[in-house]
């Protein structure tokens, strides 16, 4: 592989790993916020247990979203400085907004939500998880705004060999953005819903005592997945009107697209025509549990396939029709430099991703009895905390 292929591989690996975790974050944040709302309104222990159990899975997943995101953010400067040189005046603004308006607040409120358990008043604590959800969606919006500019460089003109921002409104109404953002958000909801379904099926199969807990979780998951897949497909088809000519001439992109659409539609049929109508009985059908567990990884595969279609289809352009990926690469970057950093990032992040999934599986297997999240809340009877 030459240096360009290595740099592309590095971005693809970190970007792919990042989205595997982000897609679940986007789907689970509103679900956990919903559970927390019901707990705040009713005070029922069942709703508290659901908030803490699914909340813990959400935050364990979140950890890898953060660390992979950090590596992505800095890679623009490390390996793709040609992009900021040519289009930084346009492309930099949405990335700056993402960090300042969205992630800065998201991280601050998430810290308050996790560590404010038992300290913050009930409604303020609830407000934190809704603010986390809101800012997570704002984050996704600005990232999709930046990505859509690469697909279709609206709102800018080339002057003196650089792109200048002339119309920010055109970036916001970019035809590559208006349907892809809701498509991604809905895919997140679909993923979050299917994880609830799969984890609940796994626990019911293990004959957990928490039958009501996982029956409710599974039904919430089915409804969420049904809403998610409907809008994912709807906004997915709507995107075709705005796709650049020649995007699917690229074999890799065409395969990603075909995989996503065929498997996605099949899953959509199963969710909408089988799981949703039979939602009352589904949690009691033992024979269905292994099938539901087996379906859990599919939304993640489809999400990656979708990104492959969108990003590989952009090749050889970094910015469609304006700047090639080869020209966007940092001048002076050597194969040795990228190889070393690629091994470091892929090795460390890959291992951490595996550990993270093992920890999520372990949290699910332990069930909702004693999650670490919110442990030691006053009023609960338990031994004093042994470790602090």
């Amino acid at each position: 592989m030459d240096v360009l292929d290595l740099a592309r591989t590095q971005f693809a690996v970190t970007g792919g790993l990042h989205f595997l975790f982000v897609v679940l974050t986007l789907g689970m944040a509103p679900l956990v916020a919903l559970m927390h709302t019901r707990w705040a309104m009713t005070g029922r222990p069942l709703h508290e247990a659901m908030t803490r159990f699914w909340g813990q899975i959400y935050v364990i997943n979140y950890a890898l979203g953060i660390v992979t995101g950090l590596v992505m953010e800095f890679q623009f400067g490390l390996a793709w400085s040609g992009l900021s040189h040519y289009a930084g005046d346009v492309f930099g603004a949405p990335l700056a907004m993402e960090t300042l308006l969205a992630f800065f607040l998201e991280s601050t409120f998430l810290g308050l939500w996790i560590f404010g358990w038992g300290r913050l008043p009930r409604w303020l604590h609830l407000a934190c998880i809704w603010l986390v959800t809101l800012t997570a969606y704002a984050s996704a919006f600005f990232i999709m705004l930046a990505n859509s500019f690469l697909q279709n460089p609206a709102g800018s003109v080339a002057r003196d060999g650089r792109l200048e921002l002339v119309d920010f409104g055109a970036l916001l109404t970019n035809k590559a953005l208006v349907f892809s953002f809701p498509h991604v958000v809905a895919a997140g909801l679909f993923t979050g819903g299917m994880v609830l379904v799969g984890a609940s099926a796994y626990m019911l199969r293990r004959r957990t005592e928490q039958v009501e807990f996982f029956t409710r979780s599974m039904r919430l998951g089915v409804v969420t997945a049904a809403i998610g897949i409907t809008f994912t497909m709807g906004f997915g088809y709507a995107q075709f009107a705005g796709v650049q000519d020649g995007k699917w001439d690229n074999v890799g992109a065409a395969i990603g697209l075909a995989l996503m659409m065929e498997v996605g539609q099949l899953l959509g049929l199963v969710v909408l025509l089988v799981m949703l109508p039979l939602i009352r009985f589904l949690p009691r059908w033992r024979w269905a549990y292994p099938l539901l567990v087996a379906m859990t990884p599919l939304p993640f595969v489809l999400s990656i396939a979708g990104w492959v279609a969108r990003e590989v289809g952009r090749q050889p352009w970094m910015i469609w029709g304006r700047l090639t990926v080869a020209d966007a690469m940092t001048p002076g970057l050597t194969a040795g430099m990228v190889t070393a950093s690629l091994i470091g990032f892929a090795g460390v992040l890959g291992l951490l991703a595996v550990v993270d999934y093992v920890l999520i599986a372990r949290t699910i297997r332990r069930g909702p009895r004693e999650p670490d999240l919110g442990a030691g809340v006053p009023g609960e009877t338990r031994a004093p905390a042994l470790s602090l």
Partner: protein, 254 residues
């Protein structure tokens, strides 16, 4: 407008040093002051509620660098390529240590991630000194310059002292000393001095290389109205987790 955005950028970087400085300091002190597992648990629990709100200042620095100084973003990061990669890996391992250390039982598990927290904090602190020296020379000197290594040592020691002051403020007497909030403000200001110095020297160069007026206008319109909310959220963290008798009452998630 260029000056306002320079001030914004400077506040973010100085704020990062003053705030995340003590988290890294506590991480550095973990093997020294936390001889027992319980001791390390208490040290991590003391900083845990602040970490997410503190480290995000550097994410904001990087975002602002891209948005306000697009012409410099690539040059700065590329000139420091090996240091930036090492610092990122350190940051990743430190964060992973915090998130993972209590997610499984077993002495070995927690000990391993505690070592990652200390190791990551060291890599990040030392890397900052090297990066700042290289930036101060306009990247004429490589990051491995002896003076850069010396500044790496200085920043590491400053952060360790800042972390020690933080522990003495948040958990008075627990690790040998008790310090009032004023002392923490002073140690924060001192920990931020190296960054503030480099920023002051680089100000004319940075202002000159700002993004175009159109870009800065859009950024100002979109971002500046939210600055009070960003500040308010940070103040809320400090108000919620101020020291008190309940500092250790609840088990920490980290």
């Amino acid at each position: 407008m260029e000056v306002i955005w320079f001030a914004f950028f400077a506040v973010l970087l100085v704020g990062y040093f003053a705030l995340e400085g003590f988290d890294l300091g506590v991480g550095l002190l973990l093997p020294l002051l936390g001889r027992t597992r319980e001791g390390r648990d208490r040290m991590v629990a003391a900083m845990a509620p602040y970490v997410l709100a503190n480290e995000v200042w550097l994410v904001a620095v990087a975002g602002t660098l891209f948005g306000v100084y697009p012409a410099l973003e690539g040059e700065v990061l590329f000139a420091l390529y090996p240091v930036v990669v090492a610092m990122l890996l350190s940051w990743v391992l430190r964060d992973a240590g915090l998130w993972f250390r209590r997610r499984a039982d077993g002495r070995g598990w927690r000990g391993f991630w505690d070592a990652m927290i200390a190791f990551g904090s060291l890599g990040l602190s030392f890397g900052w000194g090297m990066a700042l020296y290289a930036a101060a020379t306009g990247f004429a000197a490589g990051p491995m310059h002896p003076l850069g290594l010396m500044l790496g040592m200085v920043v590491t020691l400053l952060f360790a002292w800042h972390g020690w002051t933080f522990l003495a403020w948040r958990t008075p007497g627990e690790f040998g000393a008790a310090r009032p909030g004023r002392a923490l403000v002073v140690s924060g200001a001192v920990a931020a001095l190296p960054a503030a110095g480099v920023l002051a020297g680089a100000m004319p160069y940075l202002v000159e290389h700002s993004a175009s007026a159109a870009t800065l206008n859009v950024l100002s319109l979109m971002v500046l109205p939210f600055a009070p909310i960003m500040l308010g959220a940070q103040l809320w963290v400090w108000r919620t987790f101020r020291p008190g008798k309940d500092a250790f009452r609840l088990p920490s998630f980290f």
